[in-house]
Subunit: 341 residues, 2 copies
């Protein structure tokens, strides 16, 4: 299907648009009644491995909210199964890794990712979506550090002590792990672009745990390689992180066509720092639980902070939280659409 609305592609290229495009991380999720209905019949992995259902879930927010982009429904751990990782997704907790990677044996046991064999269902979902979507489709992957922190910690972490102990204590092994994950995610993202994804987003959700010095030494070289290897895919790539104000300059240098900001990073400061580089963000997801007057005030603040500058994709600073009223998400889309009215 031809694109009816390519706002996000133009914004990602820094071109002027009548209004910022808007979409939301986790726009398909538990805050939606229709999604909760589907989850009564399928687990998350079952949805992801069933292209017809997965396409339907991906389309839910496009139809219900009128957002300017769809994002493939999947989990950042989806490709890890294909690398030999034994994991399960636990509700309200996240991934639990049954064979955490904490030594040479663990790193060597990670198999190279062959997307066509490991995640054919993801590529099929993309092909189905490209036949139906009026707006661009975003493919995505977890960034090497964020995936490594799950693998080494064994699941979500608050203090990241194990992953930092590996970084500091066995640097060569750390870089070997990061190389494997970087190569795998490069293949995974390129395969999504080849299957039809119009943009890609790299989620470095936990990289904000690092000091800038640690980012430069232990992560940045791998991110440079990742973004270089995505160039041939020929689609804009959004480079997103949480708690990354202190890393933003290095993240920009590492690569990505658009920098995704969380709500801790002042938008005016970021735009000044990043120059012409487009940005995405950055409403606090908690604002979507506030009264409409506060939502309006905060959306307008962010639009004002951007000052009408080209290359702004409106989004939250992180994903929609499950407690969010659906009407409040729709309300934000309406507020953004008012800008061009």
């Amino acid at each position: 299907m031809d694109l009816v609305n390519d706002l996000i592609l133009r914004a990602a290229r820094g071109e002027p648009t009548p209004r910022p495009p808007v979409w939301f991380m986790r726009q398909a999720g538990r805050y939606q009644k229709a999604y909760r209905k589907l989850r009564e019949r399928y687990t998350l992995p079952e949805i992801v491995q069933n292209p017809e259902v997965c396409a339907e879930v991906t389309l839910l927010p496009v139809k219900a909210l009128g957002v300017d982009a769809a994002i493939l429904f999947a989990d950042i751990t989806t490709p890890l199964y294909g690398m030999g990782v034994d994991l399960s997704l636990v509700e309200n907790k996240g991934p639990v890794i049954h064979n955490p990677v904490r030594d040479e044996k663990g790193v060597e046991a990670l198999r190279p990712l062959v997307p066509e064999e490991a995640v054919p269902f993801v590529l099929e979902t993309i092909r189905i979506l490209k036949r139906e979507l009026p707006v661009p489709l975003i493919g995505f992957a977890g960034a090497p550090f964020t995936l490594a922190s799950y693998l080494v910690e064994g699941g979500p972490s608050r203090r990241f002590l194990r992953v930092k102990a590996l970084m500091y204590g066995e640097e060569a092994l750390w870089h070997r792990l990061m190389e494997k994950l970087t190569e795998a995610m490069a293949r995974y993202l390129r395969a999504q672009a080849e299957a039809g994804a119009d943009l890609l987003q790299v989620f470095d959700s936990w990289v904000g745990a690092l000091s800038p010095a640690d980012y430069r030494r232990y992560v940045k070289p791998h991110m440079e390689r990742l973004f270089q290897s995505l160039r041939p895919a020929g689609v804009p790539v959004i480079h997103f992180g949480v708690g990354t104000m202190g890393l933003l300059e290095d993240m920009k240098e590492a690569g990505g066509d658009v920098l995704g900001l969380d709500h801790h990073t002042p938008l005016p400061w970021a735009r000044a720092l990043l120059g012409a580089t487009p940005v995405q963000g950055n409403l606090d997801p908690a604002v979507l639980l506030a009264p409409k007057g506060v939502i309006r005030r905060e959306v307008q603040r962010i639009l004002k902070e951007n000052g009408g500058k080209s290359g702004h994709i409106f989004n939250l600073g992180h994903g929609i939280v499950p407690e969010t009223p659906e009407e409040n998400v729709r309300y934000v889309v309406e507020l953004i659409q008012e800008v061009a009215a």
Copy 2:
């Protein structure tokens, strides 16, 4: 006892010193064998309410490490009992509030704090310490937002949805809660200074959860009042927060003689932003679990980043984690002392 070493007072006033003073948040804690021994006989509240034992615990790191300051041993929730809060401290979890504050009734039920009646044991501990300490003593309190987030959330939080819902949904009530907490902490801190504390630290550990816009609207006015009301105490005040790079300029304007930085905030950037205002920090606590070579590299990086500028108090970006080997903490002190050797 007269001060033998006043390095931290000079640094807090921005005066040149032969080397940065060094102390560590949570320098008395579970990483210490002697502390663990004492905890076999006393709970944390029992220690805090027993001045002789509390002074002994406060002195442990001064004697064992040779740090340049002691910090009163207590918990940021210590004064809350005196305001009518029913709470318990749960190991590895933190405070659990049995009567969380989520409405008008809860806010009005909070009693004004009369330190001499509510926490006489804290003041007595300070008097004992001032008779024994060769180095300055730091008193401290939790900042209003950080305490409010415990009270409203009912304990530690990852997403802070309840406290933000109160801020956004019942702003007048929110400001009433913050006024009560600000007044209480001002009294608590002034009483510690009057009892002999040489410096004070305000711990705004969770304020980094807010966007800069929210900090300015819902928190900054109260912090301004807090720091204004501490001026008569006539001692330097350290204003510390975690995840606060995006708030730093506003925190500086709110007040405090020294800004405490976490390890996410680049030190050179902070010093440029803050001008002559002294800073404290900012080694990642996880580095203390690394091999000595990495510890030395990271300590020297921070010293180099500060570039010998006056007004630098060396510290971690947050508290010492319990898994830390004691010898590594001592090693950092030695590395800092080498600077003036």
